[in-house]
């Protein structure tokens, strides 16, 4: 987590801001990209949508029991990068991903890797809530059912309840579990989707702006949840809220036009950013 002298020594790509070239394809990340206890290691990841490059040479580790926040102006590629981590970009025909992404030392970019168990291990909450056109109960029960996680209806009921409780939705919906999930409000749908992801207990959780439609109380519940999940899991969260990034994350990565400009401990990024672009962004002069 903390920058160590050896880490800098063995990672020659960590240079200072002075070395930044103007050419974006050779932008070099400022700060410590590696993590002492990494779950996921991304090296030189490039993503194109047709001829459009959305992610440029991004290298980043995501460590065990760590929450990493990804910030940056709209359209800079945060969602695109997050989708690389569980190969969700496979579903976009135009998208092409290059580079190395490893989960526990195993290359996931390998075409021979089965994405189904990968995605069961690396869960995702999408930027736009996407509840299934099923009842609230069935929305949560879907994942456990296909993976055969429970043996009886009672167990499933319990799993549904705990998932909803952790996402802070249980009180609002416990009397109408049979109502369609699509009939919930935007913020409720967002929490439903978080609960749905929790129900299959993924090891790594990717959250793309999970609180964008939530009020401060629901946001606080989700932030508490993230902090609690950190004890067991690995979490990457995209957010537009600096305060949220500061509150929940231990490390922060700043993206800009497809480049990973700077990454470091959340304290460092917010208190003493090294790169001019990062500083502009967090002080509100940009984006």
């Amino acid at each position: 987590m903390n920058m160590t002298a050896e880490a800098i020594a063995v990672k020659p790509i960590n240079l200072t801001a002075d070395h930044l070239a103007q050419d974006q394809s050779t932008t070099i990340t400022v700060g410590e990209i590696s993590s002492p206890n990494p779950r996921m290691e991304c090296r030189d990841v490039n993503v194109w949508y047709n001829a459009n490059q959305a992610i440029k040479n991004v290298s980043l580790d995501i460590g065990q029991n760590e929450v990493i926040a990804m910030i940056g102006p709209s359209g800079c590629g945060k969602s695109t990068f997050l989708r690389c981590l569980n190969r969700m970009n496979d579903t976009i025909p135009a998208a092409r991903v290059e580079g190395s992404i490893q989960l526990d030392g195993q290359e996931i970019q390998d075409k021979s890797i089965d994405v189904v168990p990968l995605r069961a291990r690396v869960g995702m909450v999408f930027q736009k809530p996407n509840p299934f056109p099923k009842s609230i109960y069935e929305n949560i029960a879907y994942g456990p059912r296909i993976h055969g996680l429970t043996n009886s209806r009672a167990e499933l009921d319990e799993l549904v309840e705990t998932s909803l409780q952790r996402a802070g939705l249980w009180k609002e919906v416990k009397d109408r579990l049979d109502a369609p999930g699509t009939g919930l409000s935007g913020g409720q749908q967002q929490r439903l989707c978080i609960a749905r992801t929790l129900s299959v207990s993924p090891e790594v959780i990717l959250m793309d702006e999970p609180c964008s439609a939530l009020d401060p109380i629901a946001t606080a519940i989700i932030e508490e949840l993230i902090d609690e999940l950190r004890q067991q899991y690995t979490i990457a969260i995209v957010t537009h809220s600096m305060q949220q990034a500061a509150r929940v994350s231990q490390r922060t990565a700043y993206f800009h036009l497809g480049d990973l400009v700077e990454v470091g401990t959340t304290d460092d990024i917010f208190n003493q950013p090294k790169h001019k672009l990062t500083e502009d962004y967090i002080t509100g002069r940009f984006g």
Partner: protein, 463 residues
């Protein structure tokens, strides 16, 4: 002096009126710089003037074209000496009228016209001249009056836009009522003819009778004058063939839709979809002889080789070919519905570690189900109403059977056979066709209502 010339003149007058109306509006506003004093944009004043100039004359022209012939004929006939027309039958009278008109229009006739006919034709021509002159005078007056009216009403505070929009709405209503009234007219005429049929044959016999042999004597003294009008065998025949067709079309169509929408690489889709749509473009008569000449003998041969007795006009052959015809309906409707399921739902399912087939079965299919059911029911009503294939491939004998190897007949086949050939249109035999048509209509209507209901019910639940 033809009506088309008049039509052209009216349209030209409308164009002119538009320009005058616009100019006038700008004028009353006090110049092009002042047009914001007007309630509406100047063009609306132009439209207003054009509508006042054109619409009344166009309506007049329409009525005139419809009624002129009849009125002139009546006037001409009234002029004829009484003894000529008094004891003519309806047929002879219409022959006389067409003689007079032909002569008046200068068409050649086979035989030499009588003096009376020639006189009448001359009279007819004279009347025609008067009528045309009157029409021109009326149209001219209406055009001028319309322009004057619009001219007078063009003041800065006049709400030209609102007026033009409400006139446009009325015109739209008129046009949509044409479609509705036509439908209503057809339904009513079928209904009235059916009522006539049910006066001769009790409806209980028609709906619940199991024997169909619509033989009616041409002459009263002929033996075996009474027929049997029990339509049950026809309905079971229709249902049997439609059922066989759906049994083929629903699985094949649905599975190919799933393949095309979810699995097929883009290149495969690029040619497979058009090929399926070509199936929909084949005329049903081609399917008909395909069924009668290829499939039916093949089925018969197949039956013989395994020791089954399959009639040469079996329900099976007709149903299978009809099923092939319907496959593209089911598949292209279902594919559209499956494609309309948002990608975000698929993503949501994949992100939970679901496989593609789990996603299709548990997320996409339920979400698309209402649309698929709607498409299938549409295909069913298409199958029930299909005529050409069954006329050629299904039998004529009204067998009451559920055995697909036997020959059955359908409602549509019977309608065709009842109405082809020389028939008097008030015998129970021909009227039965209307009753069958009415029943078919009601059944398809009910199916469509059910389809809509299902679609709406699922919508409420899922959206």
């Amino acid at each position: 002096m033809s009506p088309s010339l008049l039509l052209f003149i009216i349209l030209a007058a409308m164009a002119l009126a538009y320009h005058l109306g616009r100019k006038r509006a700008i004028g009353v506003a006090g110049g092009i710089t002042q047009i914001n004093r007007l309630h509406s944009l100047p063009a609306y004043y132009g439209y207003y003037a054009a509508l006042w100039v054109g619409l009344p004359s166009l309506l007049l022209l329409l009525f005139w074209a419809g009624l002129q012939g009849q009125i002139l004929t009546a006037l001409t006939l009234a002029e004829l000496p009484l003894e000529t027309t008094a004891n003519l039958s309806e047929g002879q009278l219409s022959l006389l009228v067409s003689d007079i008109r032909n002569l008046a229009d200068g068409n050649l006739m086979g035989r030499e016209p009588s003096a009376e006919v020639e006189a009448a034709a001359a009279h007819y021509q004279r009347l025609q001249g008067i009528a045309t002159a009157t029409l021109w005078a009326l149209v001219g007056a209406m055009v001028l009056a319309g322009m004057a009216w619009a001219w007078q009403h063009t003041t800065p505070s006049f709400r030209a836009r609102n007026r033009v929009e409400s006139i446009a709405m009325i015109v739209l209503i008129l046009f949509s009522s044409i479609a509705i009234l036509t439908t209503l007219g057809i339904v009513l005429s079928v209904l009235f003819e059916s009522i006539r049929f049910f006066q001769q044959v009790p409806w209980t016999e028609f709906l619940f009778g199991t024997k169909w042999s619509p033989q009616i004597a041409l002459r009263a003294e002929q033996v075996g004058a009474s027929g049997a009008f029990g339509a049950i065998p026809l309905f079971t025949g229709t249902l049997l063939i439609s059922f066989i067709a759906m049994l083929l079309a629903v699985p094949v169509g649905l599975l190919s839709a799933v393949y095309l929408a979810e699995y097929a690489p883009r290149q495969v889709r690029a040619w497979a979809k058009p090929v399926l749509e070509i199936l929909a473009g084949i005329p049903t008569v081609v399917y008909g002889f395909f069924a009668a000449l290829t499939v039916a003998p093949f089925m018969r041969g197949l039956g013989e080789s395994v020791g089954l007795d399959i009639a040469s006009e079996s329900a099976l052959a007709a149903g299978l070919v009809m099923g092939i015809m319907i496959i593209p309906f089911v598949s292209s409707l279902s594919e559209d519905v499956i494609n309309a399921v948002p990608q975000s739902l698929r993503d949501g399912s994949y992100a939970l570690g679901a496989t593609q087939s789990e996603t299709i079965r548990r997320v996409i299919f339920p979400a698309a189900l209402p649309g698929i059911v709607g498409g299938v029911l549409l295909a069913v009503s298409r199958a029930i109403g299909e005529t050409m294939i069954v006329v050629m491939a299904a039998g004529l004998a009204a067998n009451l059977t559920a055995n697909p190897f036997e020959s059955v007949t359908t409602v549509t086949v019977q309608i065709v056979t009842l109405l082809t050939g020389d028939q008097e249109f008030d015998s129970a035999k021909t009227l039965a066709a209307f009753a069958l048509g009415l029943t078919l209509f009601v059944v398809t209507l009910i199916l469509n209502v059910i389809a809509l209901h299902i679609v709406r019910k699922y919508r409420e639940q899922y959206e």
